[in-house]
Structures are given as structure tokens and as C-alpha cells.
Symmetry: C2
Subunit: 224 residues, 2 copies
DNA sequence: GTCTATACCACGATAGAC
DNA sequence: GTCTATCGTGGTATAGAC
């Protein structure tokens, strides 16, 4: 029954990850020192470098732990949406909901540290520091390909290139919403206006779907 | 004719600003040390703290130097657009062009360091570290108010609150485009697709205008 | 293999001499 | 205004305990 031989090692990595995620979300990456993390996790400073190699690698590990389930959920929802509807493809709105919802949902997820974590996710999506970019690209590539194919079927008049641009814009709208929720106050003249996740998704879907459906831009459409 | 008594001090501040902007754009804020900046500018390390007070204050100064002309240009273009057209207000597309163009234009501006600077601007818009947020808010408030009023006239059916959300989304699309230009490659499967500024503005305007024109979201419109 | 103690160097900031 | 000296803190590398 005594499992200390394995608890000792497994728990150390996870305790570091948990403490790091919490502190990163609260203070940001650079403001959080390894000594603060290891102090919080009750391990030695050097444990981070032993288990992860560097602070950057620890950041990657923290992000990857949340990224993978989120992207899996996106693919699962899209699969569920498309199943057995070859001649009746899902609407743009349905597709976008599959894309936005898993990301925005993490906001209000009470379990674990994902609530606040969504902030640092949004930041990192927009400011990938060299090595972090690789992580996002590798984790996101398959998701991007699937959703681009699904959307392309729903917006057949758009060139592949302009579709890429519009997905780029819509991802920016999403990332900005996730990372900069308070920014709305700036536009709203001080009145708080944050809604629950479902309303947030609905607003974002409405905006992005209309943007995707816009007629092709003159001079771009022909350049496929 | 000897101006060394003034050249000595004025040039120091500017040399620091120029060197800092260049290095910040290349490596990011945290990866750039004050020693690197002052070495590049051929001044003493302590000169930064003397002239600016802290590294954070230097970052603010670098950003403010570019932010102010950009926002002024936005307001100038909008004024020019609205002049003497009280009964024929500018279209959404015209308004958005006034908003996006000055920002995206900095990309290709050959003069000074604004070319690469746009990257750190995009980053900072999305990840404002406490003190930086204040700078953006104060610099951006008047711009946001003017453009919100102009857009509100063109989309009268939208509640003020949903208009705020949609401006939030459109700003996210812009910021993401500025800071994460390479991200398109991810969506485009490796094919480079960057266009010149005018085409970029056209694409962004097309997307955002359609998003702004979308019918109000059910359940939100009534909550003004 | 895991983990700790500790030393190392670069960083941002400050005080005080000039 | 500018410089040197110095402080506290940061990330990291290593040696060795278990």
C-alpha cells in the first residue's frame, strides 16, 4: 500500500506544474520567479531544471497540459457536428461554435486552474516567444486544417488564401477576447459588460460568421 | 555654434530611445537588457534610470513615441472623412479604413524604426503589463470614443453594448494581424501569403465591416 | 533516477563621487 | 548629467546526498 516510491517523483512534477500555472496566471510569466514557484510547491529550486530543463520549458509544459484537451474537444465537437451529414454540411455558425466554445469555456470552468489560465493562453497565442510558437503550431496545426476544410465547404466562393486571412482575423478576435477581457471596459466607458460564456460565444459567432460570409475581396479572390 | 551643452543631453535620451526601440522589436522587452541598450547607444548603464526612471518607464516612452502619431493620424483621417457630410455619413468601410490604415501602415514605413516596431505594438496591445495598460487606455480612449460614435451612426440597429463587443472583436483581429503576421503561414500550410498594406487593409475592412453589419444577437440587443 | 545545497553570473536599481 | 561601485534578485549549472 505504500506508494511513496512513485508518489515522490510523480507528485513533484505535478506540484511544480500546478504551482507554476497558478502563479503564472496571477502574475505573468516574467514576474513569476522559479524560487516563488518552487517555494509554493515545497521543492528545491533546482527541481525545475531537473524535471523541465529551463523556465521556458516549464512554461511550455504548463501550456501544453491545457492546450491538448482544449484542441481535442474542438475536434470532438466538430466530428459530432459533421457526423452523417455529408449532403447537409453544418452551418458556419455551428462550425464556429465548435471552435470558440472549448476555448472560452475554460473561463468559467471551476475545476483546476483553468479559470485564470485562459488569460495566459490568450497572451501567449498573440505573443509567442520563439520556442512557444513551435508549441502552438504543432498543437494547432491539425485543428486549423480540419476547421479550414469544414469552413471551406461552407464558403465555397472564397479563395483558399482569403479564407486563411479570415480565419486569421477570427482567431485574433477570439484571442483578444480571451486575453483582454477587461479591454471591453475601455470601449464601454466604464460600464462592466461581461456576460456568461454562452453569450460570449454567441456574440463572437455572430461577428465571425458574418465576416466569413462577406463576398470575396476584389483583387484577392483571383490570386489563389 | 558649439551646441554640445544641449546636444549632450538631448541626444542621449533619443539615442537611448532609438536603440531601445530597435532591440525591443528584435528581441522583445524582457530579453533586452538595459546594458545591451546602453551599450548600443554608447551611454552609461545608469543613464536609462536617470532619464527615464526605470526600464518599464523606458518601454512606455518607446511606445508612446509611436502611439501618439498613429492615433492622431486616425483622428485626422476620420475628420477628413466626415467633414461636411452630416446628412451623408461615411460608410462603415470608410470608417474602418481610417482606423486600420494608420496602424497597418507602420509595417512598411521605411523611415525610422516603425517597421519592426509594429510587432511590439501588437504584442503590447494584447498583453499590457499593468502600467502599460494605463498608457494604452489613456492614449486610446479618445480614439475609441470617436470611432464608436462614428460606427454607431452607421449601425443604428445595434445596441451600444453589442457595438462595444464587435469593436472589441475587430480590434482583436487587427492586433493579431499586426503582432502575429507569421501566423498566417500556419493556416496557409506553409505558403507565404503576405500582401502589401493596402491589400491587408482591404481584407481586414471587408471582414470587420461584415461582422459589424451582422444583425443584432438575440438576447443581447435588448439589454442596453 | 530524484532531489538538494550551493555557487555563478547577468540583471535592474540606487547612492554618491565627480 | 554622467560615471563607478554595489546591492538584491533572477535563471541556471554542478556536485553530491539518498
Amino acid at each position: 500500500m505504500n506508494r511513496e516510491w512513485v508518489v515522490g517523483t510523480v507528485e513533484t512534477k505535478d506540484r511544480i506544474l500546478d504551482a507554476a500555472e497558478r502563479l503564472f496566471a496571477e502574475q505573468g510569466f516574467d514576474a513569476t520567479s522559479l524560487r516563488a514557484i518552487t517555494g509554493e510547491a515545497s521543492v528545491n529550486v533546482a527541481a525545475v531544471n531537473y524535471h523541465f530543463g529551463s523556465k521556458d520549458a516549464l512554461i511550455e509544459a504548463v501550456l501544453a497540459r491545457r492546450l491538448e484537451p482544449m484542441n481535442s474537444e474542438r475536434l470532438r465537437l466538430l466530428d459530432e457536428c459533421e457526423r452523417g451529414r455529408d449532403d447537409d454540411p453544418p452551418s458556419i455558425e455551428e462550425i464556429l461554435r465548435c471552435f470558440f466554445e472549448p476555448a472560452l469555456r475554460m473561463h468559467s470552468d471551476p475545476d483546476s486552474g483553468s479559470a485564470r489560465f485562459i488569460q495566459i493562453f490568450g497572451r501567449t497565442f498573440t505573443e509567442p516567444g520563439d520556442r512557444l510558437r513551435e508549441l502552438f503550431v504543432s498543437q494547432f496545426r491539425v485543428v486549423a486544417r480540419r476547421f479550414k476544410a469544414a469552413l471551406g465547404r461552407s464558403v465555397p466562393d472564397l479563395s483558399k488564401q482569403e479564407l486563411s486571412w479570415r480565419m486569421h482575423f477570427m482567431i485574433g478576435a477570439m484571442a483578444h477576447t480571451m486575453s483582454n477581457a477587461e479591454g471591453l471596459r475601455l470601449l464601454d466607458e466604464g460600464r462592466p459588460s461581461r456576460k456568461d460564456v454562452d453569450e460570449e460565444v454567441a456574440l463572437l459567432v455572430r461577428f465571425a460568421a458574418a465576416g466569413l460570409r462577406a463576398p470575396a475581396t476584389a483583387g484577392i479572390a483571383g490570386r489563389v
